[in-house]
Amino acid sequence: MYEMNGARAIIGLLERQGIDTIAGIPGGANLPLYDALCDSRSIRHVLCRHEQGAGFLAQGIARSTGKAAVCFATSGPGATNILTAIADAYLDSIPLVCITGQVPTSLIGTDAFQEVDIYGLSIPITKHNYLVRSAEDLLRIVPEAFSLALSGRPGPVLIDVPKDVQTAIIRFARWPEPGCRREVPAADGEAIAQAARLIDAAERPILCLGGGVIHGGASDLARELAEKCSLPTTMTLMGLGAMPADHPLALSMLGMHAARSTNMALQECDLFIAAGARFDDRATGKLVEFCPGAGIVHMDIDPSEVSKLKTATVGLVGDVRHTLAALLPLVRRGSRGTWRQTTAMLRRMYPMTLPEATVPERPYGLILKVAELLDEEAVVVTDVGKHQMWTAQVYPFSRPRQLLTSGGLGTMGFGLPTAIGAALAMPGRPVVLFTGDGSLQMNLQELATAVEQRANVKILVMNNRSLGLVRQQQRLFYNERHIACDFQLDVDFCTIARGYGIPSFNAPAGCDLDSLLRQVFAIPGPCLVNVHVGREEEVYPMVPPGAANSEMLGGFYAERCPC
């Protein structure tokens, strides 16, 4: 017979889940939980400086490993602070278990000190959530929360635990089994056969890999399908890395900031085969004009995604890995010479970069220089803005989970704490963060966490002294009426970093980037480089929000384009 309080039971259950790192911040309502953590020998607690940082740090662990990660916050402000990171995990389907302290049950509903209805607040941004009403329930709820977070389409789960539930004594004969991922079978066999017939009959098919392919561990099978049928393959922002960028069939990212050639090829395709992608508006542009005239094969583990936005000719609801495995033997090997020549020609005519854009003084040059100095072991994290899109456009991602980026929510401030989480989960691997001067200041305080944890994070601030992406939209769509996008203060990030005890370097225009970066990558632990980027550097091509993907602005040789 075991006897312990609810808090100890939670820690015991987390240990049995194999959790070794928890990010969080203590407060009145979760102190029993922290007290129980004192006795844990297998869990290391990472004290962050803001609960949003803790949420993203846990995301860094989850995104880089695919395992569920855990974060703690206290009631009230602690809980509301962590909500953004939960919403972010929800939109990108990241398995997260967030445990919040709550005021004692007897005070719930009385507007008690630091009482906030976090259960109610988190309903629309979690896969599921719980308000625990008795300590016995923890034995069921905690494993169930992990199982839910990991199964089907992954996502965040929140468990709100009143203080008296944490201190109540429970007795139980044995520990429950840890919660694990429940297998989902492949899609319906007849539908798979129908999809195979469509693929065989298609003359100009395009395969599109989304984040679901990465979550489902299906990159290798997706690549086999592409190779067997000679399918030119594009990736969504969340799918980057599912096929190596240098693969002869890889078409790079689609959508608002896609290579012009990719969006043009999509206009001409006659079959769009989406795997684990959800037709986000940033990827499809104006939906009615997306892949006009193409049939749609849509594989997704979430039944509500199939035909949600674009009616699928064939919907394949099931685990994408199992579905691909069942589809592979049914499709004919094909070479599709003409179509591949067309896509190759488009890529030659409309290159993503030109030599003049890849000099080290310019954004693409910096990103490609970093890629040149690192191998595929490296983890690349971005924040949100121009620097994120530049990285997505040209960094040669070569494996799944190499890029960690906030796709669905596009949360500035994502980068630093997520990078720290990835560094802790992947010791020995270099982690680089491409961030912006705006984004970095949204979770700057986590520099302290990076130092305390000796996280091997190399922070590259692409400093254009502005909210660059906002500035670009004002320039293109609001007649250059710039407001609230240029910072008045030119923050000295190097001095700030030094204040935290982090080695830092300035990289002014014209510096020797190669030797500077080599030096930086050789330093163990966190390090910051402030890189000057011209305010006028824009992200092109760009599809105006709401427009069709064929209406791209800018990009190299745009004037050649008949559209």
């Binding site: 259960y119 109610g120 309903i123 629309p124 896969k127 599921h128 959530n129 308000l131 839910l148 979430d302 039944p303 509500s304 035909s307 949600k308």
Partner: protein, 103 residues
């Protein structure tokens, strides 16, 4: 033409009922109603009663039959607290019974 359009309109307006079996706990109403408002789908009426030993409840939702219904049903079915969903293409008689109180 006009007749077709009118028939379509009538089908749109026709009430349907979703009958759910759900876990009975204080948050489950928020989960269901929140889903409808978040997905911008109108909930015309709702009746909910505990059943059996009270561990589960039966819920009848009166909704409009329209293009979004399929999507909303799939979203409802994803909720872990929803144990079963039955779609009645017509309005369930429970609403005419309850309707007496609003007549």
């Amino acid at each position: 033409m006009l007749n077709d359009a009118l028939a379509e309109l009538a089908a749109e307006e026709r009430g349907a009922t979703l009958e759910l079996t759900v876990n009975n706990h204080p948050g489950v109403m928020s989960h269901i109603c929140g889903l409808f408002s978040r997905r911008a789908y109108n909930l015309e009426g709702i009746v909910c009663l505990p059943q059996g030993d009270g561990a589960t409840s039966r819920m009848w939702l009166r909704v409009n039959e329209n293009a979004k219904l399929q999507q909303v049903m799939r979203q409802v079915e994803k909720l872990p607290d929803v144990l079963a969903l039955v779609h009645h293409p017509a309005e369930h008689e429970i609403f005419s019974l309850v309707g007496r109180f609003t007549a």
